[in-house]
Structures are given as C-alpha cells and as structure tokens.
C-alpha cells in the first residue's frame, strides 16, 4: 500500500497497463517528454520510449481520429484531452465515429479507445477550463462515461476503462487531483495522504465499470453524486445533520441502477448533485430514472443541486460552485417536504 494523490494514481494505472500490454499507447498535447500539464503522464516516455508516449499536435479532432485508426489496427490508445472544455473539436470523431463504429460495422471493426480528460471547476480556470460536459456523452449511444472521486477509484477504474473493449470517456475532476475538496474553499487543502482513499496499492487491480459505491449509509434520504461532488455531499450531510445515504456513481453509463433504486426505495427521498449546468445535465436523466423506478416510494419531490445555467464565471467561482451551503439548504427542503 502506497499513498498516492489522484495524479499519481492515474500515472500508476497508465504505467501498469503499458507494462502489461505493448498495445497500450498514451498520447495527447504535452503528454510526452513533459508528462502532461497536470503531470499525469510524467515519466512514461522515459520508461516506455517515444513511440509509446508522445506529444500530439494541438488538434483534438486529429488525435481522436488517429486514436480510432490505431484502435482499428489493434492497439489500445489512451488519449488525453488537456481540458474537458477542449473536447468539443473532437466531438464528431467521438460521437459519429468512435461511438458508432462497432454498431455500423456489425462488429467487424472496433476501437477500444480511452479518452482521459480533466474536468470541473474550482481552480480559477474561468469558463474555458472549468466545464463538466459529461452529460452530453451519456446521450451518445456507444460510449461509456466514468468519473472517479478519489485516487483508489481513479486507478482501478482507469485500468478497467483501458482494458474495456468499448470506448470510454474518463473524466478526472482536476479540483481533487491533489486532495479531496468538500466545497469549503476557505479551508486549507487536505492532501490525499491523510485520506483513506489516498491509500492505493502499487500493483494491478481494477474496479468494474457500472458499479456505484455507497460511501455513506443512511436512512433519511439518498444523495446521488460523482467526482468532486461526492465530497461536497459528505460534508453537506454532516452539516445538515441529515442521515443521508451518499452514493458515488463512479460510472455514469452504464449506470448502476440497482444500487440507486434500492437506496431510494429505502429512504423515499432523493437529491442529485452535480457541478455541470442544470438544464439537460446528467442530473435530469438521474431524476427521470429515479422517478420512473421509485415513483411510488417517493415521499417528496426529487431535488437537483447543480451548477447554474451560465458559463463558469472566473470571478464568481464560489457563487457558481454548488457547495455545502446550497446542499444543506436543499437537504432541509427535501426533508421538510
């Protein structure tokens, strides 16, 4: 057991899969010699050589297109999109090609590509370094979408994603790269070293995609969260003195519906928490599924706590970020009803 922050855990996942499988290639903007602007690929070029971990031109569409072709050849490319905000230039290759190839060719051609990308705000990145576009990808048939909330999960889920024969979009909440963040931006940063989920085995293990994790058991209500928001959920729960069951979805698609339904049928109340903008965000799908599966168990309307429907403003980051204060208030409404 070692202590790793999320960057080290991701680096370890890449290192281990590259070591086990010569078909795993890692590339993206600044990922080669430099090791990535967030250092997730540090040391990999030195260890595995220039043709296994390298820089690409600043062309998200091009690097995704090339990744699809490499996948078709038989490799397992792991492509980094430097910021999730910059995944849009690659959108056509992602949704029209990568996601559809297996289906349109009836399985003749497939591309097991993993797309890694840091997402989310809380780092003073302004509107073009803070977005959480995960919801859009859950609307695209043929893609799996993952977002870990801690180093242990990040490593296990990334290894599973790379080994998965379907394309996976793997979002990394950059705000928690170095430590958990519960939304109290005025508090000093807690390093992962002091957090149980910062304990990460050095060697190989994987966490199956599609399985959620109940990070806190409770009976008053159910909170559905993922990524950074899991920590906000836990903090808000304590501060609201509500015995909430907190579920870390880990994989958004395919979704672990059973764990969700069981919990909501038990608690009768549900709150959905995400950083992405509200309208047509993934919270809408979660709310719909809970409504469809648990209608007769619901004792109060399901509640969404999300980012506002505006671009992520640089100056008003903490007014925008759905932190504990908003969560506590929402939990109170949820319980009063």
């Amino acid at each position: 057991m070692a202590r790793m922050n999320m960057i080290q855990a991701i680096n370890s996942a890449l290192d281990i899969t590259m070591g086990r499988d010569p078909n795993v290639l890692v590339f993206g903007e600044d990922v080669g010699y430099f090791g990535g602007v967030f250092r997730c690929t540090a040391g990999l070029q030195k260890k595995y050589g220039k043709t296994r971990c390298f820089d690409t031109p600043i062309s998200e569409g091009g690097l995704l297109g090339a990744a699809v072709g490499m996948g078709v050849y038989g490799l397992r490319p792991v492509a980094e999109i430097q910021f999730a905000d910059y995944i849009y230039p690659a959108f056509d290759q992602l949704v029209s090609e990568l996601a559809r190839l297996r289906h349109r060719s009836a399985g003749e051609f497939t591309a097991p590509v993993t797309v890694r990308s840091p997402c989310g705000g809380g780092i003073f990145g302004g509107q073009t370094h803070s977005q959480s576009p995960e919801g859009v990808f859950t609307h695209v048939c043929g893609l799996k979408t993952v977002m870990p909330s801690n180093p242990f999960d990040a490593k296990g889920l990334l290894i599973a994603a790379i080994e998965d024969d379907d394309p996976v979009v793997f979002f990394e909440p950059k705000r928690i790269y170095n430590g958990p963040f519960d939304g109290h931006h005025d508090k000093p940063l807690q390093p992962w070293a002091t957090h149980p989920m910062g304990e990460v085995p050095d060697d190989y293990y994987s966490i199956p995609l599609g399985k959620a994790n109940v990070v806190r058991e409770g009976k008053d209500c159910t909170i559905l969260a993922y990524g950074t928001m899991v920590h906000v959920a836990l903090a808000g729960t304590e501060e609201a003195h509500v015995d909430a069951e907190v579920i870390d979805l880990r994989t958004l698609l395919p979704l672990d519906i059973d764990t969700i339904v069981q919990s909501v049928q038990k608690t009768g109340r549900c709150l959905i928490l995400h950083e992405a903008t509200k309208t047509s965000g993934f919270g809408a799908e979660l709310m719909s599924l809970v409504q469809e599966h648990c209608f007769w168990h619901l004792e109060a309307p399901i509640v969404r706590v999300t980012g506002w429907d505006t671009p992520y403003p640089h100056a008003f980051e903490w007014h925008y970020f759905p932190g504990p204060k908003r969560l506590v208030k929402a939990l109170q409404t949820l319980m009063e009803n």
Binding site: G65, A66, G69, Y73, L75, S96, R102, A106, G142, L253
Partner: protein, 412 residues
Amino acid sequence: MSETTPARLRLHIPEPKSRPGETPDFSDIRVPDAGILNRPPVDTPDEHMQDFAFGLIRVLDENHRAVGDWNPRLSADTLRAGLRYMLLTRVFDDAMQRCQRQGKTSFYMKCTGEEAVAVAQAMAHDNDDMFFPSYRQQGLLVARDWPLVDLMCQIFNNPRDRTRGRQLPVLYSARDANFFSISGNLGTQYPQAVGWAMASAYKHDSRIAAAWVGDGTTAEADFHHALTFATVYQAPVILNVVNNQWAISSYQGIAGGEQSTFASRALGYGLPGLRVDGNDFLAVYAATLWAAERARTNAGPTLIEHFTYRAAAHSTSDDPSGYRPADEEKSWPLGDPIERLKNHLIAIGEWSEEQHEALGVELRAKVKADLKEAESFGTLGTLPDEPRSMFDDVFKDLPWHLVEQRDEMEKL
C-alpha cells in the same frame, strides 16, 4: 498606418463556367501532353516536387500509346485484368441503379467515369494494405475480387447483409478485404487511416494504409488533421483526393479548387503531392506504386489528386440537370477511363473490339447471375435479421438499459 487609399471591397463567389442551358465549357482546364513529367526518386525533397502538384501525370497519349517515365510497363494480362475490373464495376453500378429504380434498395451511388481510380489503385497496392474509402470506391472491392453478391446483400439489407441492415446502402464494410467500414460522415476516415498507419509503423509492420476523399471533402477539418498527423509522424499512408469536379451541386471551386490544385495542399505540409490524370489507368497505377514504395520504405506519406469527372448523378437522390449542363460529361477533356484503356490494349495488339464486346456480354451475365442469387436472399423490405438485433453491437455486451428497451420492444 496603411498607405493604400481605402478601396471598396468586393465579396468573391466562385462560379462554374457553365450552368444548365449553357454549353459545357472546360476551356480553363489545361491538359498537358502525356509523358512529359519525369518520375523522381520516392525520397525527393518536396521543394523539388512542385511540378507534380501543379502539372498532371499522364501516361496514355493521343495515339493510345503508353509513354514517358511514369509508364508502369504493366503486362498485357495486368492491363486486361484492369479493364475487366473497371467494366465489371460499371456494369455492377448500372445494375444496382436499376435495382433502386425498381425499389429493391432505398439508395445507390455510382462511380461512373471514375473507375480507373479505385481499380488501378487496388491493383497497385498489396492485398493486405488497409483501405479507408469513401462511398465512391466500390472499384476497390471489385478489384480485390470481393464477391458482388456480398455487396448486393449489403445494399439490399437482406439476411446476408454482413452489417445486419445497420447502414445506408453502399456504406459497405468488408474487413476480410482490408476495407474499412464506410462512414456517412465525410472525411472522418482520413485521420483514421493515418492513425492506422502510425500503428503499423509502431509495430514495425510492412502494411501501409490508403484513404480516399472527394474534392468537396477536402474542406473538412479531418483533411487538415490527416495531413498534419501524416507529416508530423511521417505515417506510411497514401491520402487520395478524388477530384471529380463536383460535390453534389457545388463545383470544385467551392472547395478551394479555383486558386490552386488539391495536390498542392500537400506542399505546405512538406509532403509530395501528385496530380494525376484520374481517367488514365496507367497514370493512376504508376502514381500509386510510387507513393506505396515511398510509404513502405519509411520515406513518408503522399497526397495524390486524381483529376477526373463524376459522369453520373451524385446519387439516386440527385438530378444534376438542376445545376450543370446536360451531358456535360461528354465534353470532359480527359475522356472515359474504360475507353482509353481499351484503346491502348487494342493499339498494342492485345485486345479487340470483338473481345471487348464479348467481355461486356460475359460481365453483364455474371452480374445478372449474382443479382439473381443476391435477390434470392431478399431485397429492401426483407428484414436482415430479428429486430432485436439492432440492440447488438452498441456495446460489446448489452447493458441493462438496452436489455430493458429490447424487452419493451418485443413485448409490443
């Protein structure tokens, strides 16, 4: 401060020289003599490749002779094989077009007038080279002896359709022919081919990749992506632009062909661009051999512009009389690829009108027989599979929500 006196600016909109009702006008197309360009070494630095990007590589001259440095000196058997494949492609196209008119398929696209491109290139490549085509390279499959019955079944979406009715007809997939699944989205295969070639190079393999787009598609982002990645990683790939003068109703000037050639796009990336008479079987064959040798010897990628003409409608949904003069194709200065190769074979005493006649009869009979077989498995309307099959292959394994939806569908 600029010293120029403010002029009134004008917006330029490119226009073809002739429109419906007018007489076809190709007077702006310069047709250099065959054989005048030399064949440089495949590792020639691109600053010395200018002439090939702006000129036109041609082998067959007015007297149907193969002349010049680019003459690939092919055996008569190879030439006859090429003629056969081109004619078979045309006969196949005519037959499938009829099927569409008869309602046996919802859609079809011909490559009439462009047969030399796909056929000569398939023959010049190794059989295990990987092809990333557009929808107008059916000749690649014909020349790789892929069963026409299989293509017909894909077109008919019948139970023998290997893609299980998933795609629009003509968007073939044929992995065993090293022929990539065709996308409906233009140009996406271009960077994919480069990625495949990068993988082949990474693996120290000897197989190279080739990709095709039309003149209109060169305007897509993926054209630039492919050229950039190809030059940066010196990928073993041949990037083909089939300039058939039209993109549905837009002539090639709308894609940027007015100010320069598509072959010349390559020069700015430090790559050679070859501009080839696309209706000259021998020229296409020779240019492809050159680019293939270049790729296989780690000398780098090549862009080839095939200068040709889309003699037929864009597709069965299109009527060219709405945007270009009637039978403009008859005035196309570079002639018809099948006629030209036929005349060459006759000129060298290796073919005759009678043999050609007989070949036509034979191929029409073959296509008729294949069609009969394919139709016996069903045409448009015969379902290729159980409806439930549409849920397969979205993912490798069916997630719960697709199982649920499939059950819901079946309970209807």
